[in-house]
């Protein structure tokens, strides 16, 4: 049967059944040009750039025309450890902006990168995971009106002296909060409590690992009206400075295996 006589909705159904089989999807991609759009939808649903600028170069070389990029299929975008972008980087728009349908955004180890290019990247972002907690993080948070889940995993201390002008509006934040700052959570908690839309988390995970637990207690208290699941991770002070032990703890703690990445 030629592809022209094959009902496209049937083809879509078949390809959809293969959504979790990337090798098969790649094979489907080379069968016929008409098969490409549907397979791309699944092949590019999760995109991860990891620890090398060459990832970005390969992407831009493969998809030089942003309007023809499969980035619009991406629902989960993860960027790890790339000195990705500065606010003035002219090339940024061309490769980041096409990811305008992302629902889950993970930005980790971008310590010296500006987060400005990610502001309002996709109106559909529902979960955001970041590995630092500077004030600009919260302006990024507030650029996603439908944001529900927030994870801030910061192994390094954050100064409390940063200039902080709370945004004028913030998402309702009704999902989960995963907050793990290993020393001095006060600045990040202060900024969270300052968000004008309030906090309505139904699930909270906090790490009690330091002598500033009062702010975490305040945070839990603020969400106590909507809270359904509370997880408290306890780490002795002596372990905080010992990253292998910390990593071990977080690795073996059920349900939180991914956090060990922070210490590798």
């Amino acid at each position: 049967m030629s592809s022209s006589s094959f009902p496209p909705e049937i083809l879509d159904l078949i390809v959809d059944h293969l959504h979790d089989k990337p090798t098969t999807l790649k094979t489907c991609c080379v069968v016929s040009k008409s098969w490409v759009p549907r397979t791309r939808k699944h092949l590019f649903a999760h995109v991860e750039f990891r620890a090398s600028e060459s990832n970005i170069e390969m992407w831009t070389r493969a998809f030089p025309d942003p309007s023809n990029s499969p980035a619009h299929h991406t629902r989960t975008l993860s960027i790890h450890g790339i000195p990705v972008v500065t606010a003035t980087d002219a090339g940024v728009e061309s490769w980041i902006r096409p990811f305008h349908n992302v629902e889950h955004l993970r930005l980790e180890h971008l310590d010296r990168a500006s987060l400005v290019p990610f502001h309002g990247l996709s109106p559909a972002v529902r979960s955001l995971r970041l590995s630092h907690t500077a004030a600009e993080v919260f302006h990024l948070v507030c650029s996603f009106p439908l944001l529900e889940d927030l994870a801030l995993i910061a192994p390094y201390p954050e100064s409390d002296g940063d200039e902080w002008n709370a945004p004028l509006a913030s998402p309702r934040l009704t999902g989960s909060l995963d907050l793990r700052t290993f020393r001095g959570p006060r600045p990040v908690v202060r900024r969270l409590l300052d968000l004008p839309g309030g906090l309505h988390f139904s699930e909270i995970t906090v790490l009690l690992a330091n002598d500033d637990n009062e702010s975490l207690t305040n945070l839990v208290s603020r969400c106590s009206g909507t809270l359904e699941f509370l997880t408290i991770l306890c780490l002795p002070l002596s372990m905080v400075s010992s990253t292998p032990a910390t990593g071990q703890f977080l690795t073996v703690t059920r349900g939180y295996r991914h956090v060990s990445d922070c210490f590798s």
């Binding site: 002598d211 975490l216 207690t217 839990v220 809270l227 359904e228 306890c234 703890f249 939180y256």
Partner: protein, 96 residues
């Protein structure tokens, strides 16, 4: 070393929760116990034990305590029943 204030912080945090929707409390702990546990430390653990049992029996909020053993510490399997006796009896303490 497990500090006394840490146990108190857990209790303080739990006492701030007023949600009628709360369904589950999960506490994951990495502790190194000394050979002889101070009486005051024991008392705090017992207070925590009572509070968590109260959450369960009065509000149907299921608590779950997970210990993560560390090198150089005492065998937690020996200490858990004495520190969190009621939770242990009800099978809510898990040693990893």
């Amino acid at each position: 070393m497990w500090t006394r204030s840490s146990a108190q912080w857990i209790i303080t945090t739990l006492q701030t929760v007023e949600s009628k929707n709360l369904q589950r409390i999960n506490i994951c702990q990495a502790i190194v116990l000394p050979k002889e546990i101070e009486e005051m430390v024991c008392q705090e653990w017992h207070d925590l034990d009572r509070l968590l049992v109260q959450f369960w029996t009065s509000h149907s909020i299921r608590p779950e305590v997970t210990y993560v053993a560390q090198k150089g510490g005492e065998d937690l399997r020996d200490h858990a029943p004495s520190l969190l006796p009621e939770l242990t009896r009800r099978g809510l303490v898990d040693l990893v």
